[in-house]
């Protein structure tokens, strides 16, 4: 018995040693605003990534690898994001999910590019993010022009509106959208843009601008704003008795939009990617809600989950953490994500079509598909 005991001990030690030798760590960094006004979305991203790691591990993970998540606070600020990126580099991350604001993603991508570390942004839609020829940067969310195209298509062919008013809050993301919509509408010449108005993010009162639009009486009003302002805007529009169709984008695809908007949110259209109702998606939602004690998941939670998942799957598939090989693997394959099929082009942009959703009975419901021009 004693011999046996020693043997077991030796074996255990040996296994221990060997596993220690073999257990390399795959480090995933995140960059997102964990403080400041966008902390909600930033937290969604971090939680999405952590959920992905949990799900991936449970499914077996990568043999011989421990997976670790290192959060970084980009604070939606270029300087801080760069510092955070450098911090992640120093901690030896293999890949980074983030950042959120384009104004943080662009500067932080420079050191990441120099250190040749994979970066997948779940939220930054600015063209320049992928337009600089960096080979290791990917974008999980669709670019502004893709979303704008869906919107315009819906306005022209779905709603067949004649006049349109645009509102944005003069931030990188929303300005990108309204600029692209303007471009497409002007090309097609089917719709007349009657106004382009701006609000200040953080403001609560938009009645002056909305009254102005009420007087112009457009068929539709496009709200290029984030969720907090979006919720307030629909309420005030209804309070003012505005009859125009209200449209918005994926930044308002958040349960809070309906919660705060209440009845006024009903009938609002918005663009957001339609994901097939797969078991993976349901599993993700279940795990996420359980892990974070959350009632609902913001849209960036899905993108962040997919970003982390694609990265881990690619490492697994490539069998190495070598950036060039992993990047090639990501680019060359098609992935199944909870936000739909994932395929990146040469630049690193994802080909993802949006569909039109509607708020109905307190829920986001798919409404129209711009690709097929069909109602759901």
């Amino acid at each position: 018995m004693r011999k046996m005991g020693i043997l077991v001990l030796c074996l255990a030690v040996a296994v221990g040693f060997s596993s220690m030798a073999a257990a390399k760590t795959l480090k995933i960094g995140t960059l997102s605003p964990l403080t400041g006004p966008y902390a909600q979305d930033g937290t969604d991203i971090l939680q999405g990534v952590k959920t992905a790691v949990a799900v991936f591990q449970k499914a077996g993970g990568i043999p011989g690898y421990k997976i670790e998540v290192i959060p970084g606070d980009s604070a939606c600020d270029g300087g801080k994001a760069t510092m955070a990126a450098n911090n992640l580099i120093n901690q030896g991350v293999n890949g980074v999910v983030g950042a959120y604001c384009s104004s943080a993603t662009i500067p932080s991508s420079v050191p990441l590019n120099e250190a040749n570390i994979i970066q997948i942004t779940p939220a930054s839609t600015h063209t320049d993010v992928t337009a600089r020829g960096f080979k290791q940067i990917f974008r999980m969310c669709p670019r502004d022009d893709v979303q704008a195209w869906s919107t315009v298509k819906f306005l022209e062919d779905g709603l067949k509106v004649k006049t349109l008013a645009l509102i944005d809050d003069r931030q990188t993301y929303t300005v990108g959208l309204t600029e692209n919509i303007t471009k497409f509408v002007n090309e097609d010449k089917k719709i007349k843009i009657v106004a382009l108005e701006h609000i200040t993010p953080g403001d609560k009162d938009f009645t002056a601008v909305l009254t102005k639009l009420k007087k112009l009486n457009p068929d539709a009003i496009y709200m290029g704003v984030y969720q907090p302002e979006g919720s307030l805007m629909v309420r005030q529009a209804k309070a003012l008795g505005i009859k125009a169709t209200l449209l918005s984008e994926d930044a308002v695809y958040h349960p809070k939009f309906i919660e705060v908007g209440g009845k006024a949110a009903e009938g609002t259209f918005l663009t957001y990617a339609k994901a097939p109702d797969t078991p993976e998606r349901r599993n993700f939602e279940k795990t996420y809600k359980k892990m974070w004690n959350a009632q609902a998941i913001g849209s960036y939670g899905y993108y962040a989950y997919d970003s982390a998942m694609v990265f881990m799957e690619a490492v697994k598939k490539a069998g190495t953490t070598d950036t060039n090989k992993v990047a090639a693997t990501i680019r060359d394959n098609t992935w199944n994500g909870v936000s739909g099929k994932i395929k990146f082009d040469e630049k690193g942009d994802r080909k993802l079509a949006h569909i039109i959703w509607i708020v109905k009975d307190g829920k986001f419901v798919p409404y129209w598909d711009p690709m097929t021009e069909k109602y759901f």
Binding site: R170, K212, L232, R235
Partner: protein, 306 residues
């Protein structure tokens, strides 16, 4: 929508926005008047009021109290929010401002700024980072005047804020304590020589000013339907501008300043490129101060005394 109803509607918008700015500006002006300190934390006190209002309202709603005792509900929500923020105001004064009453102005301003950051982040930690929905008390129902719509909620809020302003004015002008506050604001040493306990007077100011801010916070929450930990910031800047525009230290000045800032914002958005709305607000402020350095209704303090 014809032009006249458009104008009426914008007027209503301006009046509504202006009365909220005015109510917050009053808190600034009172605190400034009495201890000459820009209370940077006032925006956070306003937010705290909104949160407490939400907590009370949500609790009352949960037990179905709102439907049965509507008026009492309103009373409780505003009362509790104002009381809480009054206590908070006094606490802040005691901890962060009182020790600095004789220190340099800069130190006091920084302390106020620190308090602002502290409270804002404290609320973020306790109440969450995202906006919280306010139960809809008034809904979207309203009346139409000359084609312009005004909801019952707006009517209620405008009336309530006017009432509060009148009440404040009466308090300050008619009661002994109110007069003592004015006396303290004008000449602390003399006030003390008449037996006025200025510490107490200042404390009262720090109850009333923040309480008014809290009322404004509840109004904002109720009408717009959401609160968030950092919503005080923009209101702080606007109300701060309003208080200075009207002549800081002057109560009618704060009301006037609030109305002007609200009016300029609405008017600019209504007729001109809305992106430049905030730029205009500040330019108006700077121009007014350039030509009248003490604000519209402020006392001329720039006179040099040798």
């Amino acid at each position: 929508m014809d032009t006249s109803s458009f104008l009426v509607q914008q007027l209503i918008n301006a009046l509504f926005l202006g009365s909220i700015y005015a109510l917050i500006a009053l808190g600034y002006t009172m605190v400034y008047g009495i201890i000459e300190l820009i209370n940077f934390a006032h925006g956070e006190l306003f937010t705290a009021g909104a949160f407490i209002g939400l907590i009370v309202l949500a609790a009352l709603q949960k037990y179905g109290f709102v439907q049965t005792h509507f008026v009492l509900t309103l009373f409780l929500v505003f009362g509790m929010a104002m009381a809480y923020v009054g206590v908070l105001g006094v606490a802040i004064e005691h901890v962060a401002y009182k020790p600095l009453r004789n220190a340099s102005r800069l130190a006091a301003i920084l302390s106020a700024l620190g308090m602002s950051i502290f409270l804002s982040n404290g609320m973020m930690l306790s109440q969450g980072v995202s906006d919280r929905a306010y139960p809809a008390l008034f809904g979207l129902k309203g009346i139409t005047i000359i084609g312009a719509r005004i909801t019952y909620g707006q009517v209620f809020i405008i009336i309530l804020s006017l009432l509060l302003m009148v009440a404040l004015n009466m308090f300050v002008n008619w009661t002994k304590l109110g007069k003592a506050m004015r006396a303290t604001a004008q000449n602390q040493v003399m006030a003390r020589m008449l037996g006025i306990n200025i510490d107490r007077t200042i404390r009262v100011t720090f109850i009333i000013g923040p309480a008014l801010g809290a009322a404004a916070g509840v109004m904002v929450g109720m009408y717009y339907g959401s609160v968030r930990f950092d919503m005080g910031f923009i209101y702080m800047i606007k109300a701060f501008a309003a208080a200075i525009l009207g002549g800081i230290g002057s109560i009618p000045g704060a009301v006037l300043g609030g109305m002007i800032i609200g009016g300029v914002e609405v008017a600019w958005s209504a007729f001109l490129p809305s992106a430049w709305k905030d730029v205009t607000t500040f330019i108006v402020l700077i121009l007014v101060l350039y030509f009248k350095p003490s604000g519209i209704l402020g006392e001329d303090v720039s006179e040099t005394r040798v």
